[in-house]
Structures are given as structure tokens and as C-alpha cells.
Symmetry: C2
Subunit: 227 residues, 2 copies
């Protein structure tokens, strides 16, 4: 019996894209189901009763949730084109940088994106820049975080390639310029143009509109910055 | 050549204990090094330059950090007495509940512990109780989260067994009572008295003093609750 694989996601979700990319790299056929998060489907509520969030991978009617956990599941279930290195120490390092991306890089960039104003951009972006420096260091001597090919860390950090150009357009700044982050800059180019990634890239203009609207609504709801 | 295994931790760290328990369950010999976090050692800064936190597992001079990642490393390196089930779906479920413990249960209990005052205890503890209900559900028909023996989820949630009695003593309340959470109540008893766990349990009275002092200093530093 062929595997029945479904993926509940949204068109723009950075977490959903991780799963899309991993399935494509593994060559796993799947049915993509776009959720409307303002009106969650009974399937989503059934399959992820705790968080009620996408992405959800449904494999032979059983759900797996949390994007980094789904990546581990995909790696263990479909062995071809490995996403993780073989040695436990390198596997631990890959998991570390994936988690660092979620725990440290993502909130620092999000905070800068929402709160950063032109007059204080340097200050607002400082923590994000500090975090990105650690990632820059990891790319020394490598094309991808995974080495010569895209691996779990590239997939986990793929949202950077996705979001940085959007953020830069909205803020009209250069956060990840070639001088400051030559390796990350090159990585974004290489990663984005890899066919398996490029094939399912959400349209840039649509992302800009979406994130511009999110930023404006959050700023409107927030208390004034200077009392 | 025998493995050289060192563990940088503190006497009370709930995250450090995870690694201690996993190494004991696997029967791995290790050297324990207690860190003074007010005066971090050169080793700690060398081995965990990003977070500068314990625990750090040093195996043949190479560090592994982040307690849940260390557990995966231990599982992959020493195969005896597995901490994770065999099937990828069950492995994903175990990783989910371990992460749920860190992302949801821990902050909700910490918040209640710090902010909860007698007159509003019901309200302060409500999110923690909601989260604990999910865990109670997971224990149905099982002695441990891992089934008949202690597994990754038990180790990851072990801090509950450790901290709940401390918190209850400081607050003079019963959070995890036998009526509300019969299965979690029984699990705390079973887990705590398992020899491999009980052997390295920090002294209850010392934990009470420590957490009482943390709570008092945080409350003293916080703005008044009612303006």
C-alpha cells in the first residue's frame, strides 16, 4: 500500500514550508491542504488538539505536529537523501543550530521587524545582528549549513532566506548585506535558487503585503513607544 | 579506549538532572563537575560560547549542549536501555510531549509560582492546571510516560516531580492532588522512588530554601501588582 501523506499548512507559513521542503527533498508525494487560520478546519482541531496550529503532517491517518519534530519524523521514516549527518555529535550540532534559530534568531528578528523604527534602527536590530553572526560563523568553508547539500539546519533556517528580503523591503534597510554577512548573503542566494526550494517559494510581493499588514496592525495595537 | 564523559551542571539544575538521569539509566560512567553560575568556569565558556549555560556534556573533549538535545545524543551514542520507542510515530509523540513540557508547562508553572498570591491562587494557577490536564491524559493506562519504564518524556518532565512538592510547600497549597490528577500524582510517587532517580535527588529542604529565595528576590524586583 502506498503511503497516504497529507500536509495541513497555509500558503505563507514559514513553518509549513519546512515540511514542504523536506518532503520535496525526500521525493515523498503528498496532498497539500491549505488551512484558513481564521476558521480552523475540523481536521486541524482533531489532529492538533493541543496547539491547534499548522503544520500538521498526516501519515496514514496519524498526525505529527511541530515543524522540527516533523522533520525528524520525515528523516526517520524516509531514509533517502538524509537531512541529518550520520555522527551523533554532528546530529546534535545540527539540532542545536535549528533550535537556536527558533529560540534566539527568530524572536530577535521579529522584535526588530515590529518595533524597529528608522531613528533607532541600529539599536533595534543589534540583537538580531549578534545572533546572525553566530550563523555566519557556522557557514565557514561550507556552501550550506548541511555542507555540500541542504540539510536539516538549512531547512530550519530557510525562513531567513524567505523573510529577510521581505523585511528589508518593508524597512528599506539592508540587514544582511554582502559586506557584513558574506557567507549568509551567499547562502540565501544559493538556497533560494535550489530548484526544490524555489519551486514552492511564496510570491515575494504577496509576502510583503502580508507582513506589512501584520506590522501595521501590531503597531496600532501596541502602547505608544515614548510615553 | 574508554569513553571520557564529563558533565558540567549545578547541584540543583532541573535541566542538569535530566542528563544525570539519562546517563544513570544508560549505565554510563561520568565525571560530574559542579559549576558556580555566578563565576562561570573557563570550561563552560569554552564549551557553550553561545548560551554559556549548563548542562554541558563533554564526550571525548567535544561538547553537546541543550538538555533535550543531550538526551537525543545519549540515546544515539549508548544504545542500551532505550529512552525512545522504536516507531517513528511514537518517537515523534515523545518529542512532542518533552517540548510541550518546556514550552508550555514550565512557563505556566513558573509564572504561577512567582506571581501566584493566596487571594488569587485559582486564577494564577489556571493555565498550569490546563497544561497538566494534557499530561494527565497521556498517562492513561500507563505507569510512566514511557510505558512500563522511564523514557525520554519521564526524564524531560522529571522537573515536575522535583519542583511541584517544593512549590506546594512554599505556597502551602496542593496543586497536584490525588483527586484532580490521580495519574500524575501516582507518577510523581513512582518516578521519585525509582532507585536510579532517587539516588541523585537534590535535598528537598535545600530546594525549598533556594526557590523561596528566588521568588522573594523576583517579587521584590517586580513592579507592584496593583497600581
Amino acid at each position: 500500500m502506498a503511503d497516504e501523506v497529507k500536509l495541513l499548512k497555509t500558503w505563507s507559513s514559514l513553518f509549513g514550508l519546512r515540511v514542504v521542503w523536506a518532503l520535496k527533498i525526500k521525493g515523498v508525494q503528498y496532498e497539500s491542504i491549505d488551512e484558513d487560520l481564521t476558521n480552523k478546519s475540523p481536521s486541524l482541531l482533531l489532529y492538533n488538539p493541543v496547539h491547534k496550529k499548522i503544520p500538521v503532517l498526516v501519515h496514514d491517518s496519524k498526525p505529527v505536529v511541530e515543524s522540527l519534530i516533523i522533520l525528524e519524523y520525515i528523516e526517520e521514516t524516509w531514509k533517502q537523501n538524509p537531512l541529518l549527518p550520520e555522527h551523533p555529535k554532528e546530529r546534535a550540532a545540527a539540532r542545536f543550530w535549528a533550535k537556536f534559530g527558533d529560540d534566539r534568531v527568530m524572536p530577535s528578528i521579529w522584535e526588530a521587524f515590529i518595533k524597529g523604527r528608522e531613528e533607532e534602527e541600529h539599536c533595534a536590530f543589534a540583537p538580531a545582528i549578534e545572533n546572525l553572526k553566530f550563523l555566519e560563523e557556522q557557514l565557514k568553508g561550507k556552501q550550506f549549513f548541511g555542507g555540500e547539500r541542504i540539510g536539516l539546519v538549512d531547512i530550519a533556517l530557510g525562513w531567513l532566506a524567505n523573510l529577510i528580503p521581505v523585511l528589508e523591503e518593508i524597512h528599506a534597510i539592508k540587514l544582511m548585506d554582502r559586506e557584513r554577512f558574506p557567507l549568509l548573503f551567499a547562502w540565501i542566494q544559493e538556497f533560494s535558487k535550489t530548484p526544490v526550494i524555489a519551486d514552492c517559494w511564496p510570491p515575494h510581493e504577496k509576502l510583503v503585503s502580508k507582513y506589512r499588514a501584520i506590522r501595521e496592525s501590531l503597531l496600532a495595537a501596541a502602547p505608544p513607544h515614548h510615553a
